[in-house]
């Protein structure tokens, strides 16, 4: 292991965090809040730690391999969360464990909160919560690679470890340029959303917070009832942008390069749109016919509620506009399934990712065919290309480990005396692991993790990190043999 290089890059990550913290500090300053001091102190700590670590571990060689890439990403994310939680606790508004949960939930774009009423938080902290979504959505290392010249020739290993999805490719020959393009698209879409929200009469602060939150597919808002109190126009804007951020960013690049035809041919995109249409349709019918709460609402509102929740759950954002806990079980079941699916690969969404799900189904189809014709030789085709066996194998392995981890989280939650309810334990484990946020049962909606025990909060924090980084990086970093000489 090139430990010096690992710590050097981790130091850079922390310095970058110090720079990023300047934005919420500025917000606090504008609103003349006491939390501004908390931010300044944290910036000082991060800058000192970051530059210190980088300075003492200046690497002799910047060669890294896959193992180093995993270690950098895992360590970087853990430290970032630990330090990112400081402003919450230094300002005295939230206790440290709660602050840690909140920050992890932010960086991993989960959006589950432990704060009973987030309306009581100061504006700087509300902004920071949403900003962590934005940073975590595209990934902080991608950001660093976009701005630091020549990190390493092999920075593709870092990119692979941070960007979720079964196969990670580059858009253009150089990692640095790829990172820049991704962030340009990301910033442009975020700005577009903020403008649309402003047009709907939202205040500047709230529209920026919600744009950040949607962009990272996170789900932190500024009110306890999430976004239920906003106008239908704003809810539609949010729904559409959530869906947009759940699309593979490579497709946007293709559109910018005027290859719209190729982009629209993407099979994953088509599956994504079909799922949104079919699930919203079924939920709409279910709500319309079977739900007493929607008996007197007009059809348009019911349609909006159905589409909004499907896009919110499918893209793993987690905004809500209604109390889905009282919905009929068919609708709840469908929403529960979408918790697993996630958006497209290469988007900011969490979950399994649709391309993995599609590959799993195709793999199952191939297995069936093979049972009927044992001598048949079949290849699995996806996006017009045959998928190699190694990728298929890693997808199915990932799915097994993924299920084991969700099961483990569920099991550990069972020890919590406050939430001894099967439905709550299961759905909150699934929801956190897939970085969605909301869950069914005990409390539902945002703010629901407040009553969980400290142990459960830590378990869920790890579950969120495991889910965001797709298990392997963290698993490797926590294995002692990774760090011994090899």
């Amino acid at each position: 292991m090139n430990k010096r290089m690992i710590f050097f890059v981790v130091g850079r990550i922390i310095s970058a965090e110090a720079a990023l913290l300047a934005l919420p500090a500025l917000v606090s300053l504008i609103y003349l809040e006491k939390a501004g001091w908390a931010f300044l102190v944290t910036i000082g700590i991060c800058a000192a730690a970051g530059f210190g670590i980088s300075a003492i571990s200046r690497p002799k060689s910047n060669t890294i391999y896959a193992g180093e890439g995993f270690a950098i990403v895992a360590l970087g994310w853990m430290l970032m969360s630990v330090l990112g939680a400081l402003p919450f606790s230094i300002s005295g508004e939230v206790g440290y464990i709660d602050a840690l949960f909140e920050t992890v939930s932010g960086f991993t774009t989960t959006g589950g909160s432990v704060i009973p009423d987030c309306g009581t938080l100061s504006r700087g902290l509300l902004f920071w919560r949403a900003f962590t979504h934005w940073i975590g959505g595209m990934g902080v290392l991608i950001f660093i690679m976009a701005i630091i010249p020549n990190l390493s020739d092999r920075s593709i290993h870092i990119m692979r470890a941070e960007v979720p999805g079964p196969v990670v490719g580059k858009l253009v020959p150089r990692v640095k340029d790829t990172a820049k393009i991704l962030y340009t698209i990301y910033i442009a879409l975020t700005a577009a959303e903020a403008i649309f929200l402003l047009c709907g009469g939202m205040s500047l602060f709230e529209s920026i917070v919600h744009a950040f939150s949607t962009a990272g597919t996170g789900g932190f808002g500024v009110y306890a009832d999430s976004v239920a109190s906003y106008s239908p126009y704003i809810q539609w804007v949010l729904a559409v942008f959530m869906l947009l951020f759940g699309v593979n960013f490579n497709l946007y690049y293709l559109i910018v390069m005027r290859k719209i035809g190729t982009a629209l041919k993407s099979f994953e995109l088509r599956v994504y749109i079909s799922i949104v249409l079919v699930f919203s349709g079924v939920i709409f019918v279910d709500l319309f016919c079977n739900c007493a709460a929607f008996a007197d609402t007009c059809v348009g509102d019911t349609v909006r509620t159905a589409v909004f929740h499907v896009s919110s759950f499918l893209t793993t954002t987690g905004f809500s506009t209604a109390d889905f806990n009282s919905w009929p079980s068919l609708s709840q079941g469908l929403l529960f399934i979408t918790l697993f699916l996630g958006g497209c690969a290469g988007s900011t969404a969490g979950g399994l990712k649709l391309s993995r799900v599609i590959l799993l189904f195709k793999l199952a189809g191939r297995e069936l065919k093979h049972l009927v014709h044992p001598r048949s030789v079949n290849s699995v085709e996806f996006e017009g290309k045959a998928v190699d066996e190694q990728t298929l194998f890693s997808v199915s392995t990932y799915f097994s480990i993924y299920m084991v981890f969700i099961g483990g989280t569920f099991f550990l939650l069972g020890f919590d005396p406050h939430i001894n309810d099967f439905k709550t334990c299961l759905t909150s484990a699934v929801s956190c692991f897939n970085n969605v946020g909301p869950f069914f049962g005990y409390a539902g909606a945002n703010g629901g993790f407040a009553d969980y025990s400290v142990f459960s909060k830590l378990v869920l924090s790890f579950a969120m990190l495991f889910g965001r980084l797709e298990i392997y990086p963290l698993l490797l970093a926590l294995t002692p043999s990774t760090w011994t000489k090899r």
Binding site: D153, R154, I156, P173, R174
Partner: protein, 454 residues
């Protein structure tokens, strides 16, 4: 600048490595996904899996925006077809690797013209020429030539009995003629550009420039001149051996080629009636000794296996052959071979990637081709470039000592018409000259780049 490279074998990989280091956007096309995966893991380049002659793969690689397109797969025909299609799809410059001797005769010009190729490279031919140059000057480890051969750069290894050991450069200059310049010294893996008080030591690898006649004179005075190798034994009868034998025979040397494959023996026998072709396994020492290994002037090992070349060459050295040259394609093995005492190692990938690097720099220079030649010396740690001096160079007529050159840059020679100038501080650069510059650690695209920016 976008460069597309088709084929990621030895040569393709070394091209990718040097072009990425120069800061270009490199896309590699290969039909083996495992190779693509490997290469994109090591270098910051993009990989496209597919056939280099298929326009889908070419479009995916962004051929319409590419400045240089190089096809270097093992198949000449694929390379030509790829370049032809790439040109049609909008690639600006196309370079194909064409190595079959049947194409590499008079018909090459016609082929290039019809296919719209900007250039063709033949790695085997380049290596053969390199070996041929060394065999003309066997005292040298390596020899690089520039325009019209008016000036040459020779790399020498200072053997224990060399009279230059322990001398400072100013003493050398006083004692011998002043018509040569020691430009670089490699000691313990590091390249130094020596000043006048620099003392040479045993085991140094030095590079000096002078006109060919002066080099002869100097080597004779030093007592290390070896005559041109007249009696050469070549192991392996691949294309390189064929080209080399042809060059040597044209020069009046006698050539013996040992080859394992009988079919190939007959083939090459028809093409080279003057050479002695032997059928046998060169790895067997018996055969080498029987065919008079001890009595030949030079031994060149050109089999397909790097390891075999190294081991047999070590054996040949131990038998007292004055000049032993081994072809070692893998760079990591090449440096190990040098540690084992083989001072003379050639590689086809290095020569080809030098050519492409020079081409890329020339293309990138907005004013058109300015870099005439580019060589990498001292294990690639230093570069020697030959520039054409145009009217726009800001220091025309200014004595060299008044120019503020970048550190680790040296003006190693000036070719003025038919005259060779070995520069001292009072010499000037004039329009129309060709200037040879040695540099360690920068990327020079234009002669103006040698000046220290304020």
């Amino acid at each position: 600048m976008r460069v597309i490279i088709v084929g990621s074998g030895d040569i393709g990989t070394s091209m990718v490595s040097s072009l990425v280091a120069e800061g270009h956007d490199v896309v590699v096309i290969d039909d083996d996904p495992a190779v693509i995966e490997e290469i994109t893991n090591i270098y910051d380049a993009m990989g496209v899996c597919g056939n280099g002659a298929d326009n889908d793969a070419l479009n995916e690689a962004g051929v319409d925006k590419c400045e240089i397109f190089a096809a270097v797969t093992g198949s000449d025909e694929t390379n030509m077809l790829s370049c032809f299609i790439a040109k049609r799809l909008g690639a600006k410059h196309t370079i194909a690797r064409i190595r079959n001797p049947e194409y590499n005769d008079e018909s090459l010009g016609f082929l290039c013209q019809q296919l719209g190729l900007s250039s063709s490279v033949n790695p085997e031919m380049l290596v053969a020429k390199e070996i041929h140059d060394i065999l003309k000057f066997p005292s040298a480890v390596n020899i690089e030539s520039f325009s019209a051969r008016r000036i040459e750069m020779v790399e020498l290894m200072l053997k224990p009995d060399c009279p230059m050991n322990g001398m400072a450069l100013y003493e050398l200059r006083r004692q011998y003629s002043s018509k040569f310049l020691i430009c670089a010294v490699q000691r313990d893996g590091e390249v130094h550009i020596p000043g006048g008080s620099f003392r040479l030591e045993e085991g140094d690898r030095i590079a000096l420039t002078a006109s060919p006649a002066e080099i002869q004179k100097l080597l004779r005075r030093l007592g290390i001149l070896q005559k041109q190798a007249k009696n050469v034994m070549i192991l392996g009868a691949g294309n390189t051996a064929f080209y080399l034998a042809k060059l040597l025979i044209a020069n009046g040397s006698s050539v013996k080629i040992i080859e394992k494959d009988e079919e190939r023996c007959r083939e090459i026998c028809e093409q080279l009636p003057e050479a002695v072709i032997l059928h046998g396994d060169g790895a067997k020492q018996e055969i080498l000794l029987e065919e008079g290994l001890e009595s030949c002037d030079a031994f060149v090992s050109l089999t397909g296996s790097d390891e075999e070349n190294i081991l047999i060459s070590i054996f040949a050295s131990s038998q007292g052959v004055p000049k032993v040259i081994a072809k070692v394609n893998r760079p990591e093995l090449a440096s190990m071979a040098e540690k084992l005492g083989l001072d003379c190692v050639v590689s086809s990938r290095r020569s080809v990637s030098n050519i492409l690097t020079r081409y890329a720099r020339a293309v990138q220079n907005s004013l058109g081709s300015n870099v005439e030649t580019l060589h990498r010396i001292m294990d690639g740690k230093a570069e020697v470039l030959e520039f054409n001096v145009r009217g726009d160079f800001a220091y025309i007529g200014v004595p060299l000592k008044e120019m503020k050159l970048k550190s680790d840059v040296l003006v190693a020679g000036i070719i003025r018409g038919r005259k060779t100038v070995i520069p001292s501080g009072d010499d000037t650069i004039l329009e129309g000259d060709k200037v040879i510059v040695l540099d360690a650690g920068h990327i020079l695209r234009d002669l103006g780049d040698i000046i220290q920016k304020q």
